[in-house]
């Protein structure tokens, strides 16, 4: 499977999940995604747990709002009906399953490329070279910023300006952390763009690296997965 094939499969599954309107249709699409995840031949529990970890709190919140407080489904409100809590529960189940499929599909696609570096993955995508360069630069700067966040946060906690827990002090002084991080990073970036990168020819080398990684054409397994995603989407509409 190629990265382009994985992206195409994920996009088709997500589109299918968005247009499927009942629980049965969504379950068919979920089954296709589960097959896709299993085909990676890696343990899929982490992907399932991550997706559930994102959707479960939302599901609880939705149950409180729709079933507990509102007590009827949106289509019942629109029709001016008295409505029922069971219809509200079904509405929550459909929304949550749809969200779960979206989260799980992204994780399932990751499973297929678990051993890849971001540079290798971005290089194998069919994208304009400027977009690839931007993605690589952003990923590199995210690392720089996150390190700056760690350092600044430790210093500000040590200085008693912010705390580890939720506090009013964090609300009052949180902007100092943001400003400290920005000043650290902007200084690093000015230094890199003015001196370091021109001397080391970093951008030209990055261009060369990305140009050398010509994205492969879609393979037979890619077409197989794309066909499955389309079939699941069509079946989900019935």
């Amino acid at each position: 499977m190629t990265p382009n094939g994985a992206v195409a499969f994920a996009l088709l599954v997500i589109v299918g999940a968005m247009i499927a309107h009942d629980l049965a249709g969504l379950l068919i699409i979920l089954a296709a995604t589960a097959c896709f995840a299993l085909a990676s031949r890696r343990a899929i529990w982490s992907a399932l747990a991550w997706s559930a970890g994102i959707v479960l709190p939302l599901a609880l919140f939705m149950m409180v709002v729709w079933v507990g407080i509102v007590g009827r489904a949106p289509h019942e409100i629109a029709a001016g009906l008295e409505g029922s809590r069971s219809a509200a529960t079904m509405h929550v189940a459909i929304i949550c399953l749809r969200l779960f499929i979206i989260a799980f599909t992204v994780q399932a696609a990751f499973l297929h490329f678990a051993g890849w570096t971001p540079l290798r993955f971005v290089g194998a995508l069919t994208l304009p070279r400027t977009a690839k360069k931007l993605l690589v630069l952003t990923l590199s700067l995210i690392d720089t910023i996150l390190q700056a966040v760690d350092r600044a946060r430790t210093a500000l906690i040590g200085g008693g300006l912010i705390t580890r827990q939720r506090s009013w002090r964090n609300l009052r002084h949180g902007w100092i952390l943001v400003q400290t991080v920005w000043l650290t990073v902007i200084t690093i970036v000015v230094g890199r763009t003015r001196d370091k990168w021109p001397v080391e020819e970093t951008l030209a080398r990055l261009e060369g690296t990305l140009a050398a990684r010509v994205p492969g054409r879609l393979t037979a397994p890619d077409f197989g997965w794309i066909a499955l995603a389309i079939a699941a989407g069509v079946a989900g509409l019935r």
């Binding site: 968005m18 994102i54 709190p57 939302l58 919140f61 939705m62 709002v65 729709w66 407080i69 509102v70 949106p74 409100i77 629109a78 509405h91 929550v92 929304i95 749809r98 969200l99 979206i102 989260a103 992204v106 990751f110 400027t130 360069k133 931007l134 993605l135 630069l137 952003t138 990923l139 590199s140 700067l141 995210i142 720089t144 910023i145 996150l146 966040v149 946060r153 912010i162 827990q165 939720r166 964090n170 609300l171 949180g174 902007w175 952390l177 943001v178 400003q179 991080v181 920005w182 000043l183 990073v185 902007i186 200084t187 970036v189 000015v190 763009t193 951008l203």
Partner: protein, 205 residues
């Protein structure tokens, strides 16, 4: 339009959007602050308005995709909101760049412009986000504003109306905080970096 310094600014602002989500999580603030990089990108590239819109949108879009892959898979659905924030920032908020950098800080004009532009950004963002919130999340996103949605639904309002009204009640507060932080960061940015954002001049040789 996309000169190397501008590409670096886009990458930096996209990384900032991503990292501020991390900061908000670390210091447990009850707000999102996920568009500061988008607004800041527009301020940095102004007065070239078209480039400011395009670059700010790209910065916001890349951060939404990366955050979507790593932290929150539902964020890329708000790409149209990112575009609207980029447009408002480049066409309106960026008009205040002179005030934002003035020394000493003119407190009243600074605060007034931050409030006004933050409010407009919040209203536009609430209206543009509402259809996504309704269709993707069924009106409930897990944020505190959801209880406002529930309150409106309970009084018999339609779902889309409830989400728009709740967004109008809560988004401006978040966006005022974002415009304020973007203005403070813009104010702290070295002049040398802002000068690099000027469009490349054609060589006369």
């Amino acid at each position: 339009m996309l000169t190397t310094p501008r590409l670096v600014a886009i990458a930096l602002c996209a990384a900032l959007n991503f990292a501020i989500g991390n900061i908000v999580y670390l210091i447990k603030l009850p707000i999102y602050l996920d568009s500061i990089g988008t607004i800041l990108c527009a301020l940095l590239i102004f007065p070239d308005r078209l480039a400011a819109i395009v670059c700010a949108f790209i910065a916001g879009f890349i951060s939404a995709i990366l955050t979507g892959l790593v932290l929150n898979p539902f964020l890329p659905w708000f790409s149209l909101t990112v575009l609207s924030i980029a447009a408002v920032s480049a066409l309106l908020t960026a008009r205040a760049t002179y005030t934002f950098r003035m020394r000493p800080l003119p407190v009243v004009p600074f605060a007034g412009k931050v409030l006004l532009y933050g409010l407009i950004t919040g209203v536009v963002s609430a209206v543009v986000s509402a259809p996504v919130v309704v269709y993707l999340f069924g009106g409930v996103t897990g944020s505190g504003s959801t209880f406002v949605v529930a309150l409106f639904l309970k009084t018999g309002q339609q779902l889309l109306d409830s989400v728009v009204l709740a967004g109008l009640a809560t988004d401006p507060v978040d966006k005022i905080a974002e415009v304020l932080l973007a203005a403070l960061l813009y104010r702290a940015t070295p002049r040398e970096f802002i000068a690099m954002m000027a469009p490349a001049k054609p060589s006369t040789a």
